[in-house]
Symmetry: C2
Subunit: 435 residues, 2 copies
């Protein structure tokens, strides 16, 4: 018998490999944070330091959140039922101006990361400020994160050069930390000038970073861009050099057919933020057209304050059904294709398709044990149907990141809930004084 660190035994493995195989009653052998073997339960190929019983459970890849703002978690529900610009300018930005200390960012991010892990999210692609604090919070929780400091020209006091130096120092600091990666985040075309965007593109081309930016979230943004630049937002960015880069565009609600044609030949992807776009009445992203152009379209929760939860499985369920109705095509997007949006498609969209997003030998052991033994998921005729249409995040029993349990029996392993709650009450009082 061979040795390994951990065996997760007797689960029904929803591999999300290229043929969507489900391997009933299989074991996963894990060593060094990676899956080293997958084989039928009972064949006793490995001896492990630790055995983990997954019998009766679905074992799926960890879910990947393609667009978030972790530190906004403390702004959950401070302002609802209003348009994006009013919401940003009258509430969010003025609150942020008062609250944005490193401690606030760390504490709110830890709360958000804890919530994400409980919801089965094992990697989030985040954009905000004080990203070292976000990285610290995520590593504390045991969650993977791609951090990127939002570049807003009005706040860029000492120029992009200094900004990049700071970002490089942060990248250097987390170089050895497997859970943390870094991207460059010009915030949006309406908060960065043409020159700054061009500079960002040039620097990113050299550094090999991914670009993470907001794009075409509202009709207003498109209209303003047409007025100012005579081009649609993606066209504008494409011509500034973004077409050559690996970009993750968040939202993409109002992308036109010709923009999709342009984007199709690039390495870029669009993170669809269904709940946020619905709640702020921004609209519906063109998921079907994106797929027809072969553009990866993972899902993002966006920040809590425009969502108002971090429940990616619920977001998936809504997205999958919504786009059938929008396209008047109930056959559009099978349940298994839908589940790929939060797993393998998301991994590929973030440039991590080789290591994350499916349960295959050699990939990281980021995975979920989901318990279907509840009334809402019986009878059970089709696992994918249940995952997307019937089950909920509270059925996620255990969560592993890089082979380590970070949620066990629906409880956080590395963080005390009660301390998070105490902090949340503290900041609630602080925010309320500013409202």
């Amino acid at each position: 018998m061979k040795q390994c660190d951990l065996i997760i035994s007797d689960g029904d493995i929803v591999s999300m490999d290229s043929s969507f195989r489900i391997l009933e009653s299989h074991d996963l052998a894990i060593s060094g944070g990676k899956i080293i073997d997958i084989y039928p339960t009972g064949s006793k190929k490995y001896r492990a330091k630790e055995d983990w019983d997954a019998s009766g459970c679905f074992v799926t890849p960890g879910m990947i959140n393609a667009h978030s703002h972790l530190p906004m978690t403390y702004l959950r529900g401070v302002a609802d039922d209003m348009p994006l610009y009013k919401w940003l300018s009258e509430y969010i930005w003025s609150l942020e101006a008062k609250l944005l200390a490193p401690d606030f960012v760390y504490d709110a991010s830890l709360h958000g990361a804890a919530e994400m892990l409980l919801n089965g999210i094992t990697l989030t692609n985040d954009m905000y400020f004080h990203i070292d604090k976000i990285a610290d919070a995520c590593t504390e929780a045991g969650m993977r994160v791609i951090v990127s400091e939002a570049i807003i020209e009005a706040q860029l006091k000492d120029g992009l050069g200094h900004f990049i130096k700071r970002q490089e120092a942060i990248a250097e600091r987390y170089k050895a930390e497997e859970l943390v990666d870094i991207a460059l985040a010009p915030h949006a075309i309406y908060t960065c000038s043409r020159d700054l965007l061009k500079e960002c593109a040039a620097i990113t081309a050299k550094k090999g970073w991914m670009i993470h930016t907001h794009l075409s979230e509202t009709r207003q943004e498109v209209e303003n861009c047409l007025k100012e630049h005579g081009k649609t937002p993606y066209q504008y960015l494409h011509e500034l050099g973004f077409g050559e880069l690996h970009c993750l565009f968040a939202h993409g609600v109002h992308l036109s057919e010709s923009e999709l044609e342009l984007m199709a030949s690039t390495r870029s992807a669009v993170a669809i933020c269904t709940d946020s776009n619905l709640k702020l009445a921004s609209g519906f992203a063109p998921l079907k057209a994106l797929r027809q152009h072969g553009i990866l379209s993972p899902l993002g929760t966006d920040g809590v304050s425009s969502n108002n939860d971090l429940d990616l499985l619920a977001e998936l369920s809504t997205t999958a059904k919504l786009h059938k109705a929008i396209n008047e095509d109930p056959e559009f997007l099978s349940a298994q294709e839908a589940f790929a949006l939060v797993t393998i498609d998301a991994a590929r969209a973030l440039g991590k398709g080789d290591t994350l997003g499916s349960l295959e030998i050699g990939k990281a052991a980021d995975l979920l044990l989901i318990d279907p033994y509840e009334l809402n998921s019986q009878p059970l005729y089709n696992i994918y149907s249940h995952l997307v249409y019937a089950m909920n995040s509270r059925q996620i029993r255990d969560v592993f990141v890089a082979g380590k349990a970070v949620v066990q029996d629906k409880s956080l392993v590395n963080i005390y809930d009660d301390e998070l709650m105490k902090k949340a009450f503290h900041y609630e009082g602080m925010v309320e004084r500013f409202l």
Copy 2:
């Protein structure tokens, strides 16, 4: 001190009264299944046989599901990702033809009722076959139900007269059972002839029953109706006498402005089935226009096989956000107006506004204790915002119907989960043999 049966103490009472009052730290005194008093905690007005601690919880009215098919619970996920007619004709109807024994209906309904109660639904307006079995299952679970036997002309072997006699016998049998009410359910305009519909209207006018029927679910239904009758579906029914009756129309996706004008002067309401309509790509019901015409528009889960869960709070969250986007109006439907859709508006739509739907003195003690002490609902700035946008059904801790606990600490009081599961496995095997 006065006597009462039960005091639910120290909750934050989301009354859903006409001014949406929230009464922080209040007690509810309950006797004979009704709320007899509401007063600030600590005033010690009552002595009760039983005290129930609601401290830290929201206390809300029980949620009301305006359209369901309980016995379809066992068909969860048998067929997805296809259009309504194909789904009905190739899967659902042929399965039903083989499965529809009274035992199947009872067992599936008990499963569905248990699931609904755990999700905080205290009354459902159901339509199916073998409705005595549905009534028995719901009373066993402790949930209110309005049952109605679907009238499908092709299956009406011995005429409407005999059908009505059977229905009257059932109504008589459950006369003393507070939890059960009865309605008349011509299934739809495409399964009942003009004469039969007219007869249904005439009989209902005499009996004082509510009519429960499907209406304008698909574009095809509207087109066929125009072709066959030269009228839109509601116009057609209105002229057959339905305009004089109290009707609950399920779906109403393709209702036109002129139909809404016609309906506005009646006692009828439209049950919006968001998830079902999205999943089957039927479209989006005109919620904003319905409200502008003063037509009550509660929510319905529809049957599990087109949903695929019975999670009304999730349905509410999706509906509230979706209709902001559809109307390009983020201010449309505040969170408190949204929460009314599943409480007081639903009660009024079903003709039960005097006894259900809000927590007020004299009304039935149908209520939920919802626990916000979880990461996904902290910080907490606005209770309505959290109920609609952030929380989930798994935070519903206790459920009361008519003053009796039917869910306690997230577990069913009157039913054993394990027996439901055993039955579900049994029927799963049976259904699979027919697939």
